[in-house]
C-alpha cells in the first residue's frame, strides 16, 4: 500500500502542476474509455455488421465458389507455416538463431505477443458468423499452419545445391499463383469484394512495387544519363500526383488511350496504379538506404575484384534494404490502407465502400448506423496494420538493424 502511494507521488503528483495535469487528463481518459466501452457493449447496434458480415468480408463473391476460397485460405496457411519453418531452420544452420525445443512457455508467450490482436479479431468474427463454414476453415487453416511449420525445418535443413535451391524457390512462389488461378476459375476478380478485395489489391501491389522501387532507385544513381533521367522523371512525376487523381484517371481516362475491349479490368487497373505509385516512394526509400551504406563497403568489394553487378547485389543492396526496413514497412502499411481509395475513385466494392452502402439498406436506413460499420472497418484495418508493424520490428531485431 505504501509502495503504491510512493509510486503515485513520484510519477503522478510530484508538483502541483503535475497533480492538475494528472487529474484533468485522467478525467478525460476515463470519459473516453467509458464512452468507448459503452458504445461497443451497450449502445452499439451491431446487428448491421452481423447480418452483413459476408458482404463486408468477401463482397458479392458467388456463394457457390466460396469453398474454393476456403481451400485457398487453408493452403496459404500451410504455405506460410512451411516458409516460416524453412527460414527458421536456415537461420539455425547459419548460427543466427537458437534451436527451439518443443513448445516452451517463452515460445507461447512470444506467439501471443505477436498475434494476440489478430487472434482476438478472428474469434470476434467467428462469433458473429451464423454458419459453420468459417469455423471449419479457421480450424483447418490453423492445423495446416502448424503442420507446415513442423514440416518446414525438414526442407530447410537440406543442403541444397544452387539448382535445388532455385527449384524450391520457384515451387514456393508458384503456390499462391496456382491458388489464384484456382479461385479465379470459379469467380473472377471483378466479382471479389469486401475485405478480401482490399487484401488482394494490397498484396499484389506490395509484391510488385518492391522490385520496381529497387530498380528505379538504382536507376536514379546510374552513371548513364538516359536511365537516370527516366528514373528521376518517373519518381518525381508519380510522387507529384495525388493517388486519388491517378485512380480516377485509371477509372475514366483509360478508354481514350486503349480500346474499351482491350482495357484491363478495374481491379487490375487499381493494382497497376497502386504498384507504380508505391514503387516511386519505395524507390526514394531504397535510394536513402543505398546512400546510408558507407563508401568503404564498395571499395572493399571493388578491391576484392567483384564485378559492378555483384558489388551492388551482394554487398550494397543487402545492407541498404536492411537499413530502411522501418520506412519500407511504413510505406506498405500506407498502401494497404490506401486500397480504400479504390472504392471511392473506381467504385470497386471494397470494405469501406461496402460499409458505406450498408446504411442505405431498407432495414437499416435512417438509423445513423455509420459509426458501427466504420468502426468495424477500422478494426480490421488496424488489426492488419498493427500486426505488420510489429512483425517488421521483429524482423529488424532479427537482422540486427542499428547494432551492426
Amino acid at each position: 500500500m505504501n509502495a503504491v502511494r510512493i509510486w503515485l507521488r513520484r510519477n503522478l503528483f510530484r508538483t502541483p502542476v503535475d497533480g492538475v495535469v494528472t487529474v484533468v487528463f485522467g478525467a478525460i481518459s476515463v470519459f473516453v474509455v467509458w464512452r468507448l466501452v459503452r458504445f461497443v457493449l451497450v449502445t452499439g447496434r451491431w446487428d448491421i455488421v452481423r447480418v452483413n458480415l459476408r458482404l463486408l468480408m468477401i463482397g458479392r463473391f458467388p456463394a457457390a465458389h466460396v469453398p474454393r476460397l476456403a481451400v485457398a485460405i487453408v493452403v496459404i496457411a500451410a504455405w506460410a507455416g512451411l516458409i516460416a519453418g524453412i527460414i527458421r531452420a536456415r537461420q539455425v544452420r547459419a548460427g543466427r538463431a537458437g534451436v527451439y525445443v518443443g513448445l516452451s512457455v517463452a515460445r507461447v508467450r512470444d506467439l501471443v505477443d505477436r498475434f494476440w490482436l489478430a487472434g482476438v479479431v478472428v474469434v470476434l468474427l467467428l462469433a458473429l458468423t451464423s454458419t459453420p463454414g468459417p469455423w471449419i476453415t479457421t480450424g483447418l487453416a490453423l492445423l495446416a499452419a502448424v503442420l507446415g511449420r513442423l514440416a518446414g525445418p525438414l526442407i530447410g535443413r537440406l543442403q541444397l545445391l544452387a539448382v535445388g535451391g532455385a527449384m524450391l524457390f520457384i515451387a514456393l512462389g508458384a503456390v499462391p499463383i496456382a491458388l489464384f488461378v484456382y479461385v479465379v476459375d470459379g469467380a473472377g476478380v471483378t466479382e471479389w469484394g469486401g475485405f478480401l478485395l482490399n487484401m488482394f489489391l494490397a498484396l499484389c501491389s506490395m509484391v510488385l512495387c518492391f522490385p520496381i522501387g529497387v530498380l528505379f532507385a538504382l536507376g536514379r544513381r546510374s552513371k548513364l544519363p538516359l536511365i537516370r533521367l527516366v528514373s528521376t522523371l518517373y519518381i518525381e512525376l508519380v510522387r507529384g500526383a495525388p493517388l486519388f487523381v491517378l485512380l480516377l484517371l485509371a477509372n475514366s481516362a483509360l478508354q481514350f488511350f486503349v480500346p474499351v475491349d482491350l482495357a484491363p479490368s478495374k481491379p487490375t487497373r487499381a493494382i497497376i496504379v497502386f504498384t507504380f505509385f508505391t514503387g516511386a516512394y519505395m524507390a526514394e526509400i531504397v535510394r536513402g538506404g543505398l546512400q546510408s551504406v558507407p563508401r568503404g563497403q564498395v571499395e572493399a568489394a571493388k578491391a576484392l575484384g567483384l564485378s559492378p553487378v555483384r558489388q551492388t547485389a551482394l554487398v550494397v543492396l543487402p545492407q541498404a534494404l536492411r537499413n530502411v526496413i522501418p520506412a519500407q514497412i511504413g510505406q506498405l502499411i500506407s498502401l494497404f490502407k490506401d486500397t480504400t481509395l479504390a472504392g471511392a475513385a473506381m467504385s470497386l466494392f471494397e470494405l469501406l465502400n461496402v460499409a458505406g452502402t450498408l446504411t442505405s439498406q431498407p432495414e437499416f436506413r435512417g438509423q445513423l448506423l455509420s459509426p458501427e460499420t466504420l468502426a468495424f472497418a477500422a478494426l480490421l484495418f488496424w488489426t492488419v496494420s498493427y500486426t505488420m508493424s510489429r512483425e517488421s520490428q521483429r524482423v529488424e531485431r532479427k537482422l540486427g538493424v542499428g547494432t551492426r
Binding site: E299, A300, K302, A303, L304, R310, L314, V315, R404
Partner: protein, 266 residues
Amino acid sequence: MTSTTAPEPDGTVFADATRAAGTGEAIIVLEGVHKFFDDFEALHDINLHVGRQEVMVVIGPSGSGKSTLIRCINRLEEHDRGRIVVDGTELTHDIRNIQEVRRETGMVFQSFNLFPHLSVLDNITLAPRNVRKLPKAKAEAEAMELLEHVRIPEQAKKYPGQLSGGQQQRVAIARALAMRPKVMLFDEPTSALDPEMINEVLDTMKDLASEGMTMIVVTHEMGFAREVADRVVFMAEGQIVEVGTPEHFFTDPREDRTKLFLSQIL
C-alpha cells in the same frame, strides 16, 4: 621492366625508387604518375618499382599522398597521367584489365570495411566463390585455413560487429588473402586500432612478409618499418622525397624534409 639507373655509390643499393628490391624483378611499376583532385595535385611524377617478394613501407605526414599512391595501384583512384603496370597488366580504362589487377592485389583498409551483414566465414568466401568460382565447400575449407593462419578460427560463425578491432582487421587480411593475391596493399592497417591490439595485427603482417608476400604498407609504425621493410619510401606533398633501406633511413637520412619528419615522430 629492368632498372634504368646505376647502383648508388654510397652502397645503399635500394635507395633508388626505380630499382626493385626483393628478387630484383619488378612486379609493380609506376612511371611518371600524376593524380589530381580538381586543382590539388595529390601525386606528382611518381616513379617506383616494387620487386617480387619485396616489403615496401611508405611513410610521410598526413596529406602527403601515401594512401592515394596505393589506392591508384588497384584503381580505387584513377591516375591522370603516367603508367601503372601490375604483374604485366597495365591499368587502363579497360574494365577487364582493372578486374585482372584487382584479382591479383589484396587490400587492407584502415577502417577494416568488413561486410557487416555477412558472417566472418561468408566475408572471406564471398570473393572466392563469386570471382574465382570456387564451390562453396572448397571456399570454406580454404577460409578456415586462412582463419587458422591469422589465429582466429573460433570466430568463423560470428559477425564482424561481434569482434574486437584487432580481430576484425585480421579477418580483413584473411579476406584479402582468400583471393590468392600476388601483392598485398595495406592502407594504415593499425591506425584505427586500440594500442593493445596493434601488435596482433603487425605480427600477422610479419608472418606474411616472412612467407615472401609482396607488400606495400602505408603506416606510422616505425618499429615495423625498421624490422620488416626491405625499403622505406618517404613521401611529402605528393612526391617521393627519399627511398632507402631502413638502416639508411633511420640512421643517416639525406634530405632535410626527411630529417624533420623523423625528428617529429621518433
